[in-house]
């Protein structure tokens, strides 16, 4: 949604804001200012800036989201071996504490930047922006952002990614899309992970997950995958390669303005953002 053309006025709120609506004036004569900005205006602005930065270097950014322990890092480790070797990849890791996940990635010889969020339960666009200061994007084709393990908060914060991927692991249960509709609605691809456990957890029905995803009008493709057995890894590799190719063709047709092309990212950012989030 933008804040200039009025497209954020929906049938749900238009009666409140049209002339004579209940927000047009106040009974006590105070000044009423109609705003209609997203509450995350500043985050969204930084996210757009991040996206321009990725685009100016022809880099595809993929945001991985799931519960803690659904297998995001294991998927990335397996991906390093399975993805098209022509794709140069880097990883931004988000966790409350520790460098453990970044170290797991670095062991495979892949650049990884760890963001320790402290008590914050999600990554936001400012944290990604800071991480990009330590990443020379001209050396990469795909940047994976592994969000903080959490099925609630990360869904609300645009980071500047091009694609959202949500993982749902078999031990979590097949009804997660019904319980966390905001997260699964935001996904461009849903992965049912740890499918090697399906024989042991026979109350998980992948058909039920598919039905719950339809219930939230999700048209995202679904990949059933096990990083351990390798099932589904080629589908995932194909999807990533296809997204990278589509992004490149899009950018060939819609080149990034030249001021972004030569953008060194050593510039005027004076952030006052504080990270005193509650957990």
């Amino acid at each position: 949604m933008c804040n200039t053309c009025g497209c954020n006025i929906t049938p749900g709120n238009e009666e409140l804001i049209r002339p004579g609506g209940k927000l047009a004036k106040t009974e006590s004569g105070n000044e009423a200012v109609t705003v209609l900005h997203s509450l995350l205006h500043e985050n969204d602005h930084t996210a757009s800036h991040n996206r321009e930065h990725f685009d100016s270097h022809n880099v595809l950014a993929i945001n991985l989201m799931s519960s803690p322990g659904a297998g995001k890092t294991a998927l990335l480790e397996a991906s390093i071996k399975q993805l098209d070797p022509k794709l140069r990849i880097a990883v931004i890791e988000g966790d409350l504490e520790t460098e453990n996940d970044a170290e797991r990635i670095r062991k495979h010889g892949v650049k990884a930047i760890q963001i320790a969020t402290g008590s914050a339960c999600h990554l936001d666009a400012h944290m990604i922006h800071d991480a990009l200061h330590n990443l020379d994007l001209s050396e990469y084709d795909v940047v994976f952002i592994e969000n903080v393990g959490n099925l609630v908060c990360p869904a609300s914060f645009d980071l500047g990614q091009h694609q959202n991927v949500a993982l749902l692991s078999v031990p979590e249960g097949d009804d997660k899309p019904a319980k966390y509709p905001v997260m699964f609605r935001s996904a461009d691809l849903v992965m049912i992970s740890k499918t090697d456990l399906l024989p042991y957890l026979d109350d998980f029905k992948t058909e039920r997950t598919r039905r719950y995803l339809q219930d939230i009008a999700s048209t995202a493709p679904i990949i059933e995958l096990s990083s351990k057995s390798g099932e589904g890894m080629s589908d995932w590799a194909d999807w990533v390669a296809q997204q990278a190719a589509e992004r490149r063709s899009y950018l060939e047709a819609h080149p990034v303005a030249s001021e972004h092309k030569h953008h060194t990212h050593e510039h005027e950012h004076q952030h006052t953002h504080s990270h005193a989030h509650s957990s």
């Binding site: 929906t10 709120n13 997260m183 009008a217």
Partner: protein, 126 residues
């Protein structure tokens, strides 16, 4: 819980508007929230006193309009209010639907008290 982070972002915007209009205080803030915004109205209300402490908005009333989850069916074009995890057309059962309201997370309006509308002296310009 990310409501405190969102509330701090809200206060930043309200402070900027109050400063621009040279307001003495913020009387009320109205926001529009859909169930698919991922933000809980009650948690936002609880976070508000913490986020607004010491700001021009500290005494403001936070009013939250909870907006309906509404879809339009891609097949039969019926518009319906639905639960946030069942975006299926109640009229024909089609699951390919378009959300037309329900994911809003909007600062809708701010009510300000200025020296002018209070009938007092103009505040010093900064």
């Amino acid at each position: 819980m990310h409501e405190l982070a969102i509330c701090q972002s809200l206060i930043d915007q309200v402070e900027a508007i109050a400063h621009e209009r040279q307001a003495e205080s913020v009387v009320s803030i109205t926001i529009g929230l859909g169930a698919l915004s991922g933000v809980e109205p009650q948690l936002l209300k609880h976070a508000y006193p913490v986020a607004s402490a010491g700001t021009v908005a500290r005494d403001a009333e936070l009013m939250i309009d909870e907006l309906p989850t509404r879809i339009r069916c891609n097949a039969c074009e019926t518009e319906s209010d639905v639960p946030p995890n069942k975006l299926v057309c109640p009229a024909c059962g089609e699951w390919r639907t378009t959300l037309i309201s329900g994911d809003e997370l909007l600062l809708m309006s701010v009510e300000l008290q200025t020296a002018e509308n209070r009938g007092g002296d103009a505040p010093p310009t900064s």
